[in-house]
């Protein structure tokens, strides 16, 4: 037999190819099994730190941290308009199995769950909890200013009182203290591990925790490519959830896909399982094709607002603000920008607010004749020129809003120049109060009416968008904060709402829906205050 060199080579190649092919087939079968237990979410934003308290962190970090870390307590869930939402009035223990509140409301005692462990298997101790709380109020991070809104300001307030007991002392019976322990910033950290990586310059291991975790939550970070994707693996030992059961998905892939239309196609074609940040314009079409499930829940703790800078002429004159508020084309904007998806905050007809819910529908109505009259009273019968600004990231809905505003205000003689800015620039301009008239989105993690008022209508920080300085509102927010009598609280809030309606520092126009688009077999989606998906709620089938 003559040996042909070429044939020999072909044979060899065949073996090699068969070998890899066989291995690959086995791999594919395993992949198909795990695919059902894998959740792939595509998102427009990025994750830039595994520690939610990192200054400069993104919103996506917050959602991730909820899944990696535990907190002492957690908000409950309740059915609401459109689907499940978080329930601030129903707080349960998470890492704590029991929470005792003293009768005077000044002491909270947390009992750590029996047998709770960190990802590395070591038990959770009271010292860990104390260190974590100390960090949240002491580190130079995003956490301290937020926690101070619940009167949590100093490490002296936290005391280890038993092997598994930690006491939190409050100076006043603050209604938001416990709520502040349910947010991403109040995460519980494996202090032994974290302290190993702390330095003299960085006693709270801020740098190390950006890229590493010292956690005990439902998911463990498997790989992390900052700015691109994070892959999570289920922590099978985790029992701190609702009902003590571990989450359904074994693996979660969180991937950044900048183009919104691509995200929509990925979910529709079944390549991705979940997207919560699609363009509002895409959602009706996706819904009508019916290939995927759309869960639309109004973002009840957020709002779109059109702001007048009350520190800049002519908007320092309340009459001018009232005039412009009467000339905004609310319904048309809601349809064109939001495709009618959300809960409106305009169109009320009351003169005195009927109840103390807030944000709420306000007496904002399009009435050109009234606007003209008000403008004449304010001394601008022929109108004036101004600029309307919005951020780049809001283009999809703010651009149509701007076009409609420009058109409508022209009818009362106000000439509007539209200006679009990169987000970083607009935040600077807002802080420095250099924009006369703009739109922005506000949201509150702890959506109590007085908290909204305090955050968005008082103070010198960025969130008081309009720079409004009303002494009565400032005083009322401080009393309402610690008011224990419900009737008095309600009266204070109502008074503030009336003042806002009368002075219109800004026109809050609607609460957009969060349109969560997901594969048909996914259930359990819940809208959370941090406006990100919590993978612990989700299951397939």
């Amino acid at each position: 037999m003559e040996f042909n060199r070429r044939q020999g080579l072909q044979g060899l190649l065949g073996v090699a190819a068969g070998g890899t092919l066989g291995a690959a087939t086995a791999g594919r079968e395993a992949a198909a099994q795990t695919r059902a237990e894998t959740l792939r979410q595509v998102m427009g934003g990025v994750i830039n730190s595994l520690d939610p308290t990192t200054p400069g962190g993104t919103r996506e970090n917050f959602g991730l941290a909820m899944n990696i870390y535990d907190r002492l307590a957690s908000f409950g869930r309740k059915p609401g308009e459109g689907g499940m939402t978080f329930d601030m009035d129903n707080i349960r223990g998470e890492l704590a199995e029991r929470i005792d509140r003293s009768p005077d409301g000044l002491t909270l005692t947390f009992h750590i769950r029996q047998g709770a462990t960190w990802h590395d298997g070591t038990p959770v101790t009271a010292a860990d909890v104390k260190w974590s709380l100390d960090r949240a109020v002491s580190a130079r991070s995003l956490a301290p200013p937020q926690l101070s809104s619940g009167s949590l300001t100093s490490p002296e307030q936290f005391k280890v009182v038993g092997e598994r007991q930690v006491e939190v002392k409050l100076p006043r019976p603050d209604r938001l203290a416990l709520g502040n322990l349910c947010i991403p910033f109040a995460m519980m950290i494996n202090s032994t591990l974290a302290k190993r990586h702390a330095t003299a310059d960085d006693p709270w291991a801020m740098n190390w925790l950006k890229e590493n975790t010292a956690a005990g939550g439902a998911y463990i970070v498997e790989t992390n490519r900052p700015g691109q994707q994070v892959v999570l693996r289920r922590n099978d030992a985790w029992k701190n959830g609702e009902g003590g059961t571990p989450p359904f998905f074994r693996r979660v892939i969180l991937q950044t896909v900048p183009e919104a239309s691509t995200r929509a196609s990925l979910v529709e074609r079944g390549d991705a399982d979940l997207a919560i940040d699609l363009a509002a314009s895409d959602v009706p079409a996706i819904e009508s094709r019916g290939r995927v499930k759309v869960v639309s829940i109004p973002q009840t703790n957020a709002f779109q607002t059109i702001v007048f800078n009350t520190q800049m002429a002519p908007f320092d004159n309340p009459k001018v603000r009232q005039a412009l508020a009467a000339a905004l084309p609310y319904e048309a904007m809601f349809q064109a920008a939001q495709f009618g998806r959300g809960r409106i905050l305009f169109g009320a007809r009351w003169a005195e607010v009927p109840d103390a819910a807030f944000p709420r529908t306000m007496p904002l109505n399009l009435d050109i004749d009234r606007a003209k009259a008000l403008l004449a009273e304010a001394g601008h019968p022929n109108g004036f020129a101004t600029t309307f600004t919005f951020a780049n990231s809001m283009t999809a809905f703010a651009e149509p809003m701007a076009a409609l505003i420009k058109e409508s205000l022209a009818r009362i003689g106000v000439e509007v120049t539209v200006q679009k800015m990169p987000d970083a620039q607009i935040s600077t301009m807002v802080v420095e109060r250099r924009l006369p008239f703009f739109t922005d989105i506000g949201s509150a993690w702890l959506p109590a009416p007085d908290y909204f008022m305090r955050t968005y209508f008082t103070g010198t920080h960025r969130w008081n968008y309009s720079g409004w300085n009303n002494p009565e509102v400032a005083a009322l927010t401080q009393t309402a904060r610690f008011e224990t009598d419900p009737a008095k609280y309600e009266a204070a809030v109502k008074r503030m709402i009336n003042l806002v309606a009368e002075n219109v520092p800004m026109a809050m126009v609607w609460q957009a829906n969060q349109d969560a688009v997901m594969a048909k077999d996914i259930s359990g989606y819940t809208y959370w205050f941090h406006r990100q998906a919590d993978f612990r709620d989700l299951k397939r089938g």
Partner: protein, 343 residues
């Protein structure tokens, strides 16, 4: 040996000569970024309750509280010692981000160029063989069409047709199917790494991800390459030595492909180099559309977020690439044709 030394001397001199340009690029970018009206501290301290204290703290950490000349001096010192700063958007050192992402951009650009050259050379040659014919005009029209569609439109259109409607392309989310195992990180170029470990299925998966973005870029680069091939072929075909070759009875194919093409390639190489260094910096849009984890989309996000360090690092990287590509071309030229001086 003497020739080699001469080349080495030229390269060295050329590198020294390009140093001021690089320095100029660094300083100019630094100043341009400081002119941006956005204050990164304000933007990145915008937590739900961040106040002035947090902003000031971040400014201090970022060194933005110092006067600009001092900041510039610090930055130049850092760059000199190989530290390009830290990105606020990804939280990583810029140098690490860039080295991680550069292979993605290079792989995409090189593939696109190979694709474009594969089309442009034959088209250009055909057009040059029959100047003024219908074929010539046709080639011109086709190439011109490619260059007049914005890349983000052609990219989105390709995705729509091949992924959404036909479903034959893999999902347009980066370099590798998210469920596929990635190869060990040897060179950073997926196609090379898969070949090295002999994983042909992985290689095919990575190649499939490359097709659409590379085609989008290739469409855009076709025109200059084909045009230059045609021009250079026309010049060579009219020259004396080709006429001589033809007159002594050499076959037409042989004359065109061997004698003419070889001589016509030099200018094509030059333009390829220029196109390469331009595309490397300009494929921001393609990377954005295809979620490609390259340096362009990285710089874009940073720029829109007033995140200074990555933009500065990116510009420096691109400027260096520009210098290196030019150097390589000139050196090749110098070797091929000793009459050319690269001074």
């Amino acid at each position: 040996m003497r020739a080699l030394r001469a080349v080495g001397r030229r390269v060295g001199r050329r590198l020294v000569a390009s140093a001021p340009a690089l320095l100029g690029v660094v300083v100019f970018t630094f100043l341009l970024m400081r002119v941006l009206p956005g204050d990164p501290a304000v933007f990145f301290a915008s937590g739900p309750n961040a106040g002035q204290e947090e902003i000031d703290e971040l400014r201090r950490v970022l060194g933005l509280d110092r006067p600009i000349p001092v900041q510039l001096a610090h930055y130049l010192y850092d760059v000199g010692t190989g530290n390009l700063g830290r990105s606020l958007t990804t939280g990583q050192p810029v140098l690490r981000d860039l080295t991680e992402r550069l292979p993605a951009s290079l792989e995409l650009t090189v593939t696109a160029l190979i694709l474009a050259l594969g089309l442009a050379l034959p088209l250009g040659i055909l057009a040059a063989l029959r100047p003024g014919s219908l074929l010539d005009h046709g080639v011109r029209l086709v190439c011109s069409l490619g260059v007049c569609v914005p890349t983000f439109v052609s990219g989105l259109l390709l995705i729509y047709v091949f992924y959404v409607v036909l479903g034959i392309a893999p999902d347009p989310t980066g370099r590798l199917d998210i469920f596929a195992a990635s190869p060990p990180d040897i060179t950073g170029f997926l196609l090379v790494d898969f070949l090295l470990v002999g994983d042909m299925e992985g290689w095919r998966a990575a190649a499939a991800q490359l097709v659409l973005p590379a085609a989008t870029m290739a469409l855009f680069t076709l025109a200059p390459l084909a045009r230059m091939t045609r021009a250079s072929m026309l010049a060579v075909l009219g020259s004396d030595f080709v006429r001589t070759a033809k007159s002594i009875g050499l076959g037409r194919g042989r004359v065109v492909l061997v004698y003419a093409l070889r001589n016509a390639l030099l200018p094509v190489i030059t333009i390829t180099g220029i196109v390469f260094s331009t595309m490397l910096g300009a494929n921001v849009l393609v990377e954005k559309v295809f979620s490609w984890p390259g340096v362009g989309s990285y710089a874009l996000d940073a720029l829109l977020g007033s995140d200074y360090a990555p933009v500065q690092g990116f510009v420096l990287l691109m400027a260096s690439a520009f210098v290196i590509v030019n150097l390589v071309i000139d050196t090749l030229y110098g070797i091929a044709d000793p009459r050319v001086s690269i001074e």
